[in-house]
Symmetry: C2
Subunit: 123 residues, 2 copies
Amino acid sequence: MRRHSRYRQLIQDTLRDADGPLSATDVQALLDDTGIGLATVYRLLNEGVEDGELVGVELPGGPRRFEPAGLPHHHHFECRACRKVFAVRGCPGRMERLVPDGFELEQHEVILFGRCADCVTAD
Amino acid sequence: MRRHSRYRQLIQDTLRDADGPLSATDVQALLDDTGIGLATVYRLLNEGVEDGELVGVELPGGPRRFEPAGLPHHHHFECRACRKVFAVRGCPGRMERLVPDGFELEQHEVILFGRCADCVTAD
DNA sequence: TGCACAATGAGAACCGATTATCATCAAGCA
DNA sequence: TGCTTGATGATAATCGGTTCTCATTGTGCA
């Protein structure tokens, strides 16, 4: 049984309020003023996944990220300038057309790359 | 100036004949009988990218992969069973619809996950 | 045929991400 | 108010991937 954990809920809230999936170091940086250690962040993120409250998100060339479980179907946009990752609603669909004969499709991921609004404006 | 390289062309040919992008260790394994060293594989792959003959392909949670430059627009299918990655022609399109206001889209990647024909048959 | 130097292979080193270790801290109960 | 025990933080260890180092090889030209 998991007893009192100062941070458990705080991490959940942090992920829920974020614009997209966060890495362990992102979470630590956002909770910097609490002094939380990186080991604790990893521990709680992994526990969150085990408990089904969180899901891991893998994006090309980056560390593992985490977001709340149960979000509606969505994909991700990675800003090439600030490296932030945003969840984007919707899906282009029609993935089946791409699947070669004899292959079985289980899942798909769409990743958009470009520049986020903040970085576009910053020019 | 690059002079005689036994392997340069061999690696190009290997990538060109493959079903999809290959990692450095994939290439080494395919050229196993030549005794090529991993350092050489990495060196030639990186040179290939510098020279514009190859492009690097990043997929979630895997090592960097390489494929010939100039291929027509395509995406990738990763087999969850054998971990092989296949290039798949075509594109679902309509990516712009997903881009949030104020964001600028530069590129997109679509990755399909499932089981390849060989692994489906192997059951 | 000999030489200079690029190419190579083996393995050490490095790197970022992640996990393990362990002493310390503190919540909740006696 | 003490005690037990899970939670925590600092840091070492680990892990896959990749790059670096350097002695050796062998190509291509003199």
